[in-house]
């Protein structure tokens, strides 16, 4: 029986928290497609699936629904594909069933999430396989050559070299294509990147090794060049995988953002459509709990709106017919009928999207660590190779000029040594240095529920020195909680009325009262409160008109029954449990903390005091927030923004690095670098620590690569390099860099 109770709430292993029942449930009907076999399919993004139990529960749970023919969950991407024969299943029953199982499900906009197979990644894997195949097989011929040194006849050695050449030439020309392409693009733009010396080394090495084999010489670098490509491709693949992961995360978030709407047609029928299809003048139905997809005017209904995502304001706003409604607000209590006054892309949300874009442009100027290293590396290596070539060619003549007796070494030896420099300095370790560290770091954070959304996010996070928090929904839970102590009997009586309402204050009251019955004859008077017999719960003007306003700015409900004196319930938006702990941990790390919110100054001051933040601003508009971040940047700070609302999205994009909680609005998650799942804030601290450690490891790796080159390059320039030394040096340095990156896994067992 215990397992049954567990399986009712999300992941059976308890690895992921069960999805909030309140998660927005857009009608997925607008996103159903026909597949090649004529079946209807729906792709959903699943939140909270972590383990084998989840796969089984979701797939068998859905297959148990009548009509479903196929359900397959991809655990890596969190995508679920469900198929059924046309007309047999209502799409909304699928999401409802998933919600009952405790998973969040969001339908995809097929246009926004056009399933792109990662072609680039597949190609890289193919190159990698060919390079690996060639490197291993050529090594099979190289080892006898090295170990048989002196004993092996020239004929046998040349035969082995020829076999190596037959494998290496096609394999290298095939596997080095990504480097050739990138080098060619760079050269055409009159720039030089890391791939230019790599491409040059591939061509020169192949050429010189063929020449050596033709002359039955002993130095053929076929093994070196394929191994080099193998290591470089590993680095390239890891880097690509990171970027792809970040891109997919961003794309998924954007796809989920595509809100659906219910349009009321001329015949009175309600049809689910995508938000992009809404035209000006359309009549839309907004059920309670729905988010308004566009700006509009209320035609029918009286309700309360939650505007916290737009403004940070925690108190619900009462609305009635004729009032304006903005895209992004949530309808709380009663269903509304609205007339769209703008299309989705012209609504107030779109204005924020433009602010986000402007902010992101500022961030694009950030130069990644690996790019900085490449900018230093390329000219140095090229001049060194050129100097080696000219040195060997011209030095004998110069020496003769000052009186020494030396013979010319010839063009071949000069070229050979110049190529040796290019091979030995080839950025194997350099190419692995940063991606290896980042893969380990993001993987570790992912397991802790922190989603790293952009490739350079950790590098930027490591530099942060000011943290700017939003209040509602970030530092706080964004849900009201009862703070007045009242008699249990009164609370129970009030809760029996509150149970019939969806208003957030009613729900908070019910939560405080615990399970119980609801009053039989209760009815909700929209915008006022609930009435049952002689009991009334709601606004002061509705339930207790004789009482005076408490004037402390808190959200409140009044309850009056019969002749008893009315009782006031006051609510606060409680801080997250570890908010104060997080703030002090940030301060410990030398990061200054600020609070900037759109909520009333009274509420902001109270939250700041409780969390231990000295610097705070209340009543801030979205542009005030971006202005504050711009000001911090102008003062030379590198601000980290943590926010969840639409009003934070622009500030998130404008900050040096940004994070948002998993409950944040999709637009905000899309604009931030990190998404922190779960109710705790402390993973943010771990992310900062990991980012700093990753930066230290990456710098160590880069320094090691530099040291390696400083030792190896002069040896190669002096003509001491043999194929055996090249092979050992390259594999050794790459191994060292990878192991150093893995050290990141071990060093996190601190208290």
């Amino acid at each position: 029986m215990a397992t049954v109770a567990l399986t009712e709430s999300g992941c059976p292993s308890g690895l992921a928290p069960a999805a909030d029942a309140e998660t927005r449930r857009a009608d997925p009907a607008a996103f159903v497609r026909r597949d090649a076999h004529g079946a209807e399919t729906l792709e959903l993004l699943i939140q909270g699936a972590k383990c084998a139990g989840c796969i089984r529960k979701i797939e068998s749970g859905l297959l148990a629904l009548p009509g479903i023919t196929d359900a397959r969950l991809n655990l890596s991407t969190g995508r679920l594909r469900v198929s059924w024969s046309p007309g047999t299943v209502a799409p909304s029953s699928i999401t409802e069933s998933l919600a009952r199982m405790g998973y969040g499900a969001a339908a995809f906009d097929p246009a926004a999430a056009a399933r792109q197979v990662d072609e680039e990644g597949r190609k890289l894997l193919r190159y990698l396989a060919v390079a690996g195949f060639a490197a291993m097989n050529i090594m099979m011929f190289s080892v006898p050559v090295w170990s048989g040194d002196g004993e092996m006849g020239e004929g046998t050695r040349t035969l082995l070299h020829w076999i190596s050449a037959l494998i290496a030439i096609p394999a290298a020309l095939y596997a080095a294509q990504p480097f050739f392409r990138s080098a060619w693009t760079a050269l055409r733009a009159r720039r030089a990147n890391m791939d230019v010396p790599i491409s040059l080394a591939v061509f020169l090495t192949l050429g010189i090794s063929i020449a050596e084999t033709l002359q039955q010489g002993e130095h053929a670098y076929f093994d070196g060049i394929t191994m080099l490509l193998f290591f470089l491709l590993i680095g390239r693949y890891l880097d690509h995988k990171l970027r792809e992961q970040a891109r997919t995360a961003a794309r998924d978030l954007l796809a989920m953002q595509s809100v659906t709407a219910s349009r009321i047609g001329a015949d009175g029928r309600v049809v689910a459509i995508g938000a992009a299809e809404i035209g000006v003048g359309d009549t839309l139905l907004l059920a309670s709990g729905d988010r308004a997809p566009v700006d509009g005017i209320i035609l029918e209904g009286v309700s309360d709106l939650d505007r916290s995502m737009l403004t940070g304001e925690t108190l619900p706003q009462a609305v009635r017919p004729g009032d304006q409604i903005h895209a992004g607000v949530i309808n709380l209590s009663q269903r509304l009928v609205i007339r769209a006054s703008a299309r989705a892309q012209d609504s107030s949300v779109a204005e924020l999207a433009r602010l986000i874009e402007a902010g992101e442009q500022g961030r694009a100027r950030f130069v990644r660590l690996a790019e900085k290293a490449a900018a230093l590396y390329v000219p140095v290596v090229h001049s060194l190779a050129l100097a080696t070539f000219l040195g060997w060619l011209l030095a004998p003549a110069l020496l003769r000029f000052v009186g020494f007796e030396v013979a010319d070494v010839g063009f071949r030896v000069a070229l050979m040594n110049a190529v040796a420099v290019l091979i030995i300095t080839c950025p194997c370790a350099l190419g692995l240095a940063v991606p290896a560290v980042q893969v380990v770091a993001t993987g570790r954070l992912f397991k802790r529920g922190v989603l790293v959304k952009s490739g350079d996010a950790l590098e930027r996070l490591a530099e942060v020195d000011v943290a700017v928090f939003d209040k509602t929904g970030t530092l706080t839970l964004g849900k009201p909680r009862l703070m007045t102590n009242v008699e249990p009997d009164v609370l129970r009586a009030a809760a029996s009325l509150a149970r019939i309402s969806r208003h957030p204050l009613s729900r908070a009251l019910v939560e405080a009262a615990g399970p119980g019955l609801s009053a039989d004859n209760a009815r909700e008077i929209p915008g006022e409160g609930i009435e049952a017999g002689d009991a009334r719960l709601g606004r002061r003007t509705f339930a207790a008109p004789a009482c005076l306003d408490a004037e402390d700015g808190a959200a409140e409900l009044w309850f009056a029954q019969g002749d008893a004196p009315p009782v006031r319930f006051a609510f606060v938006d409680a801080l997250r449990i570890d908010a104060a702990q997080t703030v002090s941990a940030l301060k410990q790390r030398g990061i200054k903390v600020e609070l900037i919110s759109g909520d009333r100054p009274v509420a902001v001051a109270a939250a700041a005091r409780e969390a231990g933040i000295e610097t705070w601003v209340g009543g801030a508009s979205p542009s005030d927030k971006t202005a504050r971040l711009a000001q911090l940047r102008a003062q030379g700070f590198k601000p980290l923004m943590i926010g969840d609302g639409l009003n934070d999205a622009a500030a998130l994009a404008a900050a040096h690095a940004s994070a948002s909680p998993g409950t944040a609005l999709e637009a905000s998650q899309a604009a931030s670098d990190l998404v922190i799942q779960g109710a705790a804030l402390m993973p943010l601290i771990e992310a900062i620590d990991v980012a700093k450690m990753a930066r230290a490891r990456a710098l160590e790796n880069l320094r090691f690569s530099a040291l390696y080159n400083v030792i190896a390059a002069p040896l190669a320039a002096a003509g001491f390099l043999t194929p055996l030394i090249a092979a050992l040096a390259m594999s050794g340095s790459s191994l060292f860099v990878t192991l150093n990156a893995l050290r990141l896994q071990l060093s996190w067992r601190r208290a």
Partner: protein, 51 residues
């Protein structure tokens, strides 16, 4: 040393078979969901059996 005439082609042939096997696994989508594959091992077939 004459044995090399056989051994080298045999070795290369086996390596090519390995390479082809990898390409096949790549093409058939076995690298699409690495996490899922690791976990699906744990699901008993008889209870799952959708098909």
């Amino acid at each position: 040393m004459n044995v090399m005439i056989f051994l080298i082609p045999v070795a290369l042939f086996m390596a090519v078979v390995g390479l082809c096997a990898f390409f096949w696994s790549l093409r058939s989508g076995q690298y699409e969901d690495l996490d899922g594959a690791a976990h699906r091992v744990l699901i008993p077939d008889d209870e799952d059996a959708p098909n």
